[in-house]
């Protein structure tokens, strides 16, 4: 699903690429990749914390009514 959303604007991207010079300068790129690295680390950590068998765990969480 997420993949589909990213692919959609492909043809327009190609056109734009011809007109616009070089991609963003290095510092911004480095920043972005540091941020990506931070997110990757975080997701890796959370992978290790998540309960195993998501489907069953979520299904078994059944509450009685409250206020």
């Amino acid at each position: 699903m997420a993949g589909q959303e990213q692919q959609q604007p492909q043809s327009r991207d190609t056109e734009v690429d011809e007109d616009i010079p070089a991609p963003p300068p290095a510092p911004a790129e480095a920043q972005a990749s540091a941020a990506t690295q931070g997110v990757d680390d975080l997701l890796d950590e959370i992978d290790g914390v998540l309960e195993s068998n998501a489907e069953e765990f979520v299904r078994a969480f059944v509450q009685k009514g409250g206020q």
Binding site: L50, A60, Q63, G65, G66, Q67
Partner: protein, 557 residues
């Protein structure tokens, strides 16, 4: 008998800003993964029991006291009438101690349980405690609930609400260490995503002279929109999560009415329960049921701070003159639109976004508090300035720098984590792992709870530091009657046989009968007024004698 715990009147709080007597209530989601189908009320009682055991270890004599139900009035309606008991939903009868059905215990854990476990020393199941920090910990319906002590400002509201998470964490740890019991997980959230919701409530003290209609008119547009700063986020749309997606609020889909007395059925945006737990002709306690339970301190801070300021606007007759067309539908429209671009219709025909509404309230609140002087950075009340600044900064970020808002606004913090997973693993919104992330976000154990994982990486802002929260587990706020209640419980627990929001009951040798000390003024019983009394007396009898003005010895028999 009557008695006063204080000898000088409590001073009023500065009006017009974010200071106000307030408190929170959190019903925790409860789950024992290794004991599916275990009775929820029984498990909740085990949590209370476990905390009683923890405090027994910590304080000689036990920092636990039973709840006094005398002044509970759950069927009083703020609009001026009382519901007949026979026509009330059973879940509304919160003025009777809940009875834990023996049959339910037997079904959950076997007959043997009835004889030798799950009972306190006096032989009945402990369902209710008053804690040394002035809070109440008890079984509400099928959930453990922590009701914070009364505080006077949003910063303390955050501290004593977060203290509740540590209180129940201590109970969870204790249960996990007992090999004979199934471990219990607690979640600070508001729905199981299978059509059931449970609340986190706020309480605000107001003068009774403010007409209830003004409260309804002034608060409704604010409550429809406030979720954009304090929603906790939810995976799934609709009460039973029947449609995939993500929304801003845990609670929005469970609201079905604009105004009403109920809290468990036909939930209203404005709840009319009129139980002041204080001098009834002077005060009303506004019982707010629409909020999400917040782990994010910044969202929690804004939830209490901005709502307190809007109540100040209503009291001053200066709430923005806006009325939302079909507020229940608007509430859900706002919750379902994470782009924050959806517009809702006002009765005058204008269409506005939730951000527009919040800015209107911010502008009015800033104007009032500047006029009254409480918002001054130096000479103000010490709270309103910070609330206004953070409120404005958060609204600006929501408008044009959402990644910055993700370290403070809870629904955005959760969303950015979920989006990370969606991008990395290509998950659609109906994937069970996203549902698990939503659930586990709210696990109160720091090693398992995803909010806590972000907090430990400094990805979430703090309003109060860990030390202040730890202190709030053990100590009451100094500036409300919760100080008197909490200190009585921690200093004289063997002689305190009951307590409630507006009373403490002593059973002291030498007195012929129980001594019920009313505490009906929320701003009395403070450290300033009673701290000396606690310092002078380490035994209940002389303490009570001086408190009641009887000299230093108990009266004869």
């Amino acid at each position: 008998m009557t008695a006063r715990p204080e000898r000088a009147p409590g001073s009023a709080l500065p009006a017009g800003g974010a200071m106000r007597v307030m408190g929170s209530e959190t019903e925790y989601g409860i789950h024992a993964p290794s004991a599916p189908g275990a009775n929820a009320t029984m498990m909740s009682a085990r949590v209370i029991q476990a905390y009683a055991q923890v405090t027994r270890q910590r304080a000689a004599g036990g920092a636990e006291t039973r709840w006094d139900y005398t002044d509970e009035e759950p069927l009083h309606d703020a609009r001026g009438w009382t519901v007949e008991r026979t026509s009330a939903d059973p879940s509304q009868l919160t003025d009777q101690p809940p009875v834990l059905d023996a049959e339910a215990i037997a079904m959950a854990y076997g007959r043997d349980e009835l004889d030798h476990d799950g009972e306190d020393e006096s032989g009945s199941l402990l369902m209710n405690m008053v804690l040394g920090n002035g809070a109440r910990l008890y079984v509400d319906h099928a959930h453990p609930e922590y009701s914070s002590p009364e505080v006077t400002n949003p910063r303390d509201a955050v501290a004593w609400d977060a203290a509740g998470d540590l209180v129940v964490l201590a109970a969870v740890r204790r249960l996990a260490a007992d090999p004979t019991l199934p471990p219990i997980n607690l979640y600070k959230n508001n729905t199981d995503n299978k059509s059931v919701s449970y609340g986190s409530h706020e309480n605000y003290l107001m003068p009774r002279s403010v007409p209830f209609g003004d409260i309804v008119r002034g608060l409704t547009p604010f409550f429809v929109s406030r979720q954009i700063i304090c929603g906790a986020g939810r995976v799934g749309l609709g009460q039973a999560s029947s449609r995939p997606g993500y929304q801003i609020s845990q609670r929005a889909d469970f609201f079905e009415a604009e105004v009403g007395l109920e809290t468990t059925i036909r939930r209203p945006i404005i709840n009319t329960r009129d139980e002041p737990h204080a001098t009834a002709d002077k005060y009303r306690r506004l019982h707010v049921i629409i909020g999400d339970a917040n782990l994010s301190q910044a969202s929690n801070y804004l939830k209490f701070g901005t709502t307190a300021m809007v109540l100040s606007l209503i009291e001053a007759g200066l709430a923005p003159k806006v009325e939302v067309h079909e507020p229940v539908a608007a509430l859900q429209t706002v919750s379902h639109d994470t782009s924050l671009s959806a517009t809702i219709r006002l009765l005058d025909g204008r269409r506005v976004t939730a951000l527009d509404l919040q800015w209107m309230y911010h502008e009015a609140a800033a104007k009032l508090s500047q006029e009254t002087g409480v918002a001054d950075a130096v000479d103000g009340d010490g709270h309103t300035h910070a609330v206004l600044e953070r409120w404005a900064a958060t609204l600006s970020q929501l408008d044009n720098d959402r990644s910055a808002a993700a370290s403070s606004v809870e629904w955005l913090a959760k969303l950015s984590l979920l989006e990370g997973y969606r991008q990395r693993d290509g998950l659609s919104w109906d994937n069970a792992r996203l549902g698990l992330i939503d659930l586990q976000w709210a696990d109160i154990r720091p090693e398992k709870g995803l909010y806590h994982r972000l907090l430990s990486r400094d990805r979430m802002q703090r309003i109060v530091d860990d030390q202040a929260i730890a202190r709030a587990v053990a100590e009451p706020p100094s500036d409300t009657r919760a100080y008197f209640r909490g200190r009585c419980v921690s200093s004289f627990s063997k002689d305190v046989v009951g307590a409630s929001w507006d009373s403490v009951i002593f059973d002291v040798p030498g007195y012929g009968r129980l001594q019920r000390v009313p505490t009906r003024e929320p701003l009395r019983g403070t450290e300033a007024l009673t701290g000396g009394l606690f310092a002078r007396h380490h035994e209940a009898a002389p303490f009570l004698a001086e408190l009641l003005g009887l000299g230093t010895t108990p009266p004869p028999g």
